[in-house]
């Protein structure tokens, strides 16, 4: 995959940085704080832009009504969520196309070795796994096949990707039913999951280093020599 190889030479543009900052601020809920209630800054907040449904005339309820149960209620509730998911994925797609992931890669790259003991060259796979389950996994395999990552490093890296996979897309997509209920802004939820993904991978890292002390790598077939 050329992506993995030319990432060292890729230059992050100002558009990339701006779109990364935009998406972080917009999803964080910071701009929807009470202090900013009457300022135009609110217009950049994701939840403000999602807006709200009008109520049915003469009632306090939106079209979903009140008191529904079972499959019908589940379906109608889904309809209320779709605009949120559409707007979120629209934003994410635009920011990705402007280079937000490349900018994020630049930010995260220096932390990969100290936290996850994974080489910086995995940066693109790391940030790709924010929005896609599959791209990161395929890139990881290629990194190992190209001897740019060891087998044990792969185990740690995969444990990061596997928990809360595609965290940004999935928090909006599959998490959509809880978005209107959550008392925390969606950006905070994503940050919490991210922190725990890293924490879990660090545990795996500790276990593997403990395991290797007891079972040093000797076999050549593992192509995992340090």
């Amino acid at each position: 995959m050329t992506d993995t190889n030319d990432q060292n030479t890729y230059k992050v543009t100002w558009k990339g940085w701006l779109s990364l900052i935009f998406i972080c601020v917009s999803f964080s809920g910071l701009l929807a704080m009470d202090k900013l209630a009457n300022t135009p800054w609110r217009a950049l907040d994701f939840s403000v832009l999602v807006g709200k449904f009008g109520t049915i005339a003469g009632s306090k309820n939106i079209f979903q009504g009140a008191g529904g149960i079972g499959a019908r209620e589940g379906f109608l509730f889904t309809l209320t969520l779709i605009p949120t998911v559409m707007l979120a994925l629209g934003f994410i797609q635009v920011c990705e196309s402007l280079g937000a992931l490349r900018a994020a890669e630049k930010l995260f790259r220096p932390f990969l070795r100290p936290f996850l003991n994974v080489p910086g060259v995995a940066g693109l796979a790391f940030v790709s796994s924010f929005t896609s389950s599959d791209v990161g996994a395929v890139m990881t395999k290629e990194l190992v096949d190209n001897k740019m990552m060891t087998d044990d490093e792969r185990t740690i890296f995969v444990s990061y990707q596997y928990a809360g996979s595609a965290v940004v897309t999935n928090t909006f997509g599959t998490g959509a039913p809880l978005l209107p209920i959550s008392v925390l802004p969606v950006g905070v939820i994503i940050a919490l999951i991210f922190v725990c993904k890293v924490f879990g991978a660090m545990l795996v890292r500790c276990y593997i280093s403990y395991y290797r002390k007891k079972n040093p790598l000797v076999e050549g077939g593992d192509h995992a020599g340090q």
Partner: protein, 156 residues
């Protein structure tokens, strides 16, 4: 990934369309299943049984026993877990804070079987560590529930 030739509007429409399909293909089926399932469990009285049996475990996270249904559903599909949590909220079994605690947990330990193939197998990870890789998201989910409670206590 770089798309200098396509414009922002096109990219937005592409993403929004993806969102519409996710809504129709993933969320809607999960919600119909979760809402029907919760209704079934409630009418049959199984929900009370699950609630009583799992109260001590879920109580550790400040959650009622019934909320285990959401985590179990999440194990098979993230969307089903989140939909089940939303349904429990609609039924008044959990409050908004408890639903918020379940939210990151459902995403963290969600779709473990499907994604085992898509991530662990595709990446070619070492077979020796499969059990470890399988356990990690569940440990992460436990940690994230505690962490979310702390954040809510601090900022909400």
């Amino acid at each position: 990934m770089q798309a200098n030739n396509t414009n922002i509007v096109e990219e937005f429409v592409k993403g929004a369309k993806k969102g519409l399909y996710i809504g129709l293909e993933m969320i809607a089926p999960a919600m119909v299943l979760a809402y029907a399932l919760i209704t079934f469990l409630k009418i049959t009285g199984l929900m009370n049984y699950i609630g009583d049996a799992l109260n001590p475990v879920m109580g550790l996270f400040g959650l009622p026993g019934e909320s285990a249904v959401a985590l179990l559903a999440a194990f098979f599909a993230k969307a089903a877990g989140c939909a089940a949590a939303a349904s429990l909220f609609a039924e008044g079994k959990i409050d908004a804070i408890q639903a918020t605690v379940l939210f990151p947990a459902c995403v963290t330990m969600g779709t473990l079987i499907g994604h085992f193939a898509r991530i662990v197998l595709v990446s070619g990870a070492n077979k020796k560590f499969y059990p470890l890789l399988f356990a990690a998201p569940i440990i992460d989910a436990v940690v994230v529930m505690f962490l979310t409670r702390i954040i809510i206590a601090l900022f909400h």
